[in-house]
Amino acid sequence: MATIVGGIGSSHAPTIGVAYDRGQQSDPLWAPLFAGYEPARAWLDALKPDLFVIVYNDHANSFFFDKWPTLALGVGAGHPQADEGWGKRPLADLPGDPAFGWHLARSLVEQEFDPTVCQEMAVDHGVLSFLPLLTDTDWKIPVVPLAVNVIQHPIPSARRMWKLGKAIRAAVESYPADKRVVVFGTGGLTHQLHGTQYGQKNMAWDNEFMDRLESDPEPLADMPLREYMERGGTEGVEMILWLAMRAALGDSVTRVHRNYTAPFTTGYGLLALENTDTGTLPA
């Protein structure tokens, strides 16, 4: 049986990829971010995972509003990099896991989640900005990406993301092969990319969110989207994707590592949780 051994919440941002490619890891503004990923990376290596399930969002790079999925699951053997409008980064395509991907599709549909199942799904900075900070870029570990609409309203609720995490866990635990799975939730943290409050972030809320996600996450699922946006920006609503990661873990988790830095317009958070409870959470 496959098991979820850990969960990682991480921000994503195009600028992280740019800084990585330019070798700005030691730049004073960037060092707190890059150094912050190193302990999580060491933990992840030691965890010896076989598969990453990454709950993220596309930023109108793989999908457009002609056909805009609320949930899209990448079941292909590989996931190419999307050109976001500036050319591609020097990164190899990500490997996928079709057998697990189709299993996840079947399981989600049985559990009344209905993803658009994609055999060709390019991924953007929602996956590729932070992943090189956590694993070697020869991509030894296959990725099954699950894209959630958090851009074009109506978007799913925080509660829906909580339930999605539960469904991912049930899918993993019903997979017959032995696999050690790490689930990622990525987005945010707070940022506002347009409007009168452009550039504002909410560092107190970012840290409160990470506190609560670790110790008492379930009430975060009750918070209306409007409140997420008021606290963290219309674009910062991405942070609800972390709830799927957290709900995929057990009641009891051990925080392995946490980092927070906000040198620019986005709060960059990182939370690595080891799953210490393999019992089942209440629905």
Binding site: N61, I151, Q152, L193, H194
Partner: protein, 99 residues
């Protein structure tokens, strides 16, 4: 739900439909050949996507706030910025009325 939260637009279906052609043109900039075509002849490129006179004027004037008021998604507006040489801080500050 209101259309505006803390001075920012919710990108609703109404906005997505109203600015569909503008956003669709911006999406085309995920292809290098289209980026080159726009740079070579902006007017012809905008015409090929059927932009209205008002939409073309917004692009010509690099009126980011106007584009967002009209219904652009910020994620598509920054792709237009990619071909016009305007990065997110310039776009964001313009939408905030700061430049």
């Amino acid at each position: 739900m209101d259309d505006i939260v803390s001075g920012a637009y919710l990108f609703t279906g109404e906005r997505s439909a109203r600015a569909y052609r503008l956003n669709k043109m911006a999406m085309a900039f995920t292809d290098a050949a289209n980026r080159a075509a726009f740079k070579a002849d902006e007017e012809a490129f905008m015409d090929s996507f059927g932009l209205s006179a008002a939409e073309k004027d917004l692009v010509r004037r690099r009126d980011w706030k106007g584009m967002m008021d009209h219904g652009a998604s910020i994620y598509l507006a920054i792709k237009i910025g990619g071909v016009t040489g305007d990065a997110l801080p310039a776009i964001g500050n313009h939408t905030a009325g700061r430049g």
